[in-house]
Amino acid sequence: DVKVTQSSRYLVKRTGEKVFLECVQDMDHENMFWYRQDPGLGLRLIYFSYDVKMKEKGDIPEGYSVSREKKERFSLILESASTNQTSMYLCASSFERGRLSYGYTFGSGTRLTVV
């Protein structure tokens, strides 16, 4: 089974701190994604990556950056954490070949609280 592992289930950080959320997948998937999930808003795409060192902004990239130095690892960085970044963060990976879309495999999520 494909596994997507997020390094922390729960994090509490202070306002202004630099925060790193790590995600690792073990099935050689090309595509990786970071979403945040908030009640009533569903999942919103922050950043995604098609390949190593490639990144693209999603719908809500402000206040975030990403790093993909290796194919299996996709890191989300909160440059200066703010309370409005308190949320559940979900990492996902996917593999697609034309019409053979297998959808996403998600990690278990990191619940981040910024105080």
């Binding site: 997507v4 808003l41 569903g42 996902a92 019409r99 879309s101 959808g103 996403y104 998600f106 619940r111």
Partner: protein
């Protein structure tokens, strides 16, 4: 613009009764449609998908979904609900030409009462 709508924040159903969770979409080209389920404090798990072929798609845990092109809908169904089906359900769509990127609905909380 591509989007997914789940018109019901919550669906309540009695155990043993049929359930339906609604989803409509807007996408360029032919849609790739998915349903995911999320249990508390967990990531999303894949339930089923429609890419092409039969409009009725069967998935995990006895769930199925019906693709209706004219109504741009992809409703999730199950003939007989279980208490353990209680969870948050997300519909997602990917456009034929919007490679890799999925759009998710806001989620529907399913409550199955014993």
């Amino acid at each position: 613009a591509q989007s997914v709508a789940q018109p019901e924040d919550q669906v309540n159903v009695a155990e043993g009764n049929p359930l339906t969770v609604k989803c409509t979409y807007s996408v360029s080209g032919n849609p790739y449609l998915f349903w995911y389920v999320q249990y508390p404090n967990r990531g999303l798990q894949f339930l089923l998908k429609y890419i092409t072929g039969d409009n009725l798609v069967k998935g995990s845990y006895g769930f199925e979904a019906e693709f209706n092109k004219s109504q741009t809908s992809f409703h999730l169904k199950k003939p007989s609900a279980l208490v353990s089906d209680s969870a948050l359900y997300f519909c997602a769509v990917r456009g034929q030409y919007n490679f890799n990127k999925f759009y998710f609905g806001s989620g529907t909380k399913l409550n199955v009462k014993p």
